[in-house]
Symmetry: D2
Amino acid sequence: MPATKRAEAAAPRHVHRAGKDGLARRLNRIEGQVRGLNKMVEEDRYCVDILTQIAAVRSALDAVALQLLRDHTHGCVQDAIRSGRGDPAIDELFTVVEKFAR
Amino acid sequence: MPATKRAEAAAPRHVHRAGKDGLARRLNRIEGQVRGLNKMVEEDRYCVDILTQIAAVRSALDAVALQLLRDHTHGCVQDAIRSGRGDPAIDELFTVVEKFAR
Amino acid sequence: MPATKRAEAAAPRHVHRAGKDGLARRLNRIEGQVRGLNKMVEEDRYCVDILTQIAAVRSALDAVALQLLRDHTHGCVQDAIRSGRGDPAIDELFTVVEKFAR
Amino acid sequence: MPATKRAEAAAPRHVHRAGKDGLARRLNRIEGQVRGLNKMVEEDRYCVDILTQIAAVRSALDAVALQLLRDHTHGCVQDAIRSGRGDPAIDELFTVVEKFAR
């Protein structure tokens, strides 16, 4: 999708500085958890323990997604609505929400 | 949970050789995807693009979990049932299924 | 939660006429499906068939919820943002989104 | 799917008497909740309240499904494994689990 067709705000920064650091920290932790999963498979760990760990990674990812969705709505979507470009921004938001609802 | 209280089969190998290679490959790819997410945040990419990528990682994780659950049931759980230790193995299975149903 | 503390629009009609008829129709169909589930249990139908039908009801409910969320955001939330009451309306929206993310 | 190709146990009763009463009771309650949803739409109730109620129905349905899955595994699947027909019964189980994982 070309950038001009999207609901991107004019400002180049999409994730606010404070939020960005927190997000990077959480994604780093998730990367470590996935690396840990790989190690568990290598070491022939019990499948139920691997599954429990996968469920934890999934919860961590969902929490990150929910935070990003919330920040995006308070930020970009709200800005778009104020500038009279609300409907496409909301449609775009729900296109991605649907990907999580599957 | 001590190993003796669990439904682990006597055999030390829980994930079969063939399944193990496939699993390691899929988890490596997921690790790369999470690293990619971190890079997107660093580069201030558009939040909706980051969210779309998170949804992809989540789907990949769910597919791995479903495959592991299936293999575990065909393997460990079926073995446990044949050895008369079926009920605790099934309870353990659903404890982990519930973590995915949340 | 008292109505005055909520992000309700001033207008008394929350679900638009056209949307309301469609919604009522879909909920009627879901009510019939749940009644059908009860009948399946009474008739001692095979558990896997009952489960398949439960999954269908769940999908139908999720589709209704997604439609309502979308309409609510295009309607009430957008109105609230335009009237300068955007942040509480967005917080309220995500409180309910989280209930679906569980 | 013809009954002869399925993992149905020979016994005609799939849901045990005690479990059946509990299941019927829970489905009756869910049917009432869906009827309540319809009434909320008719009365033009606030969309967020309707959504909260839909989330409650969904949780109730998921709890019923999880219980049925568990009973089915302890019952039909375990019986099938003991009779040497385990693999198709497990495949059938995961076909329905996947419908919930979507």
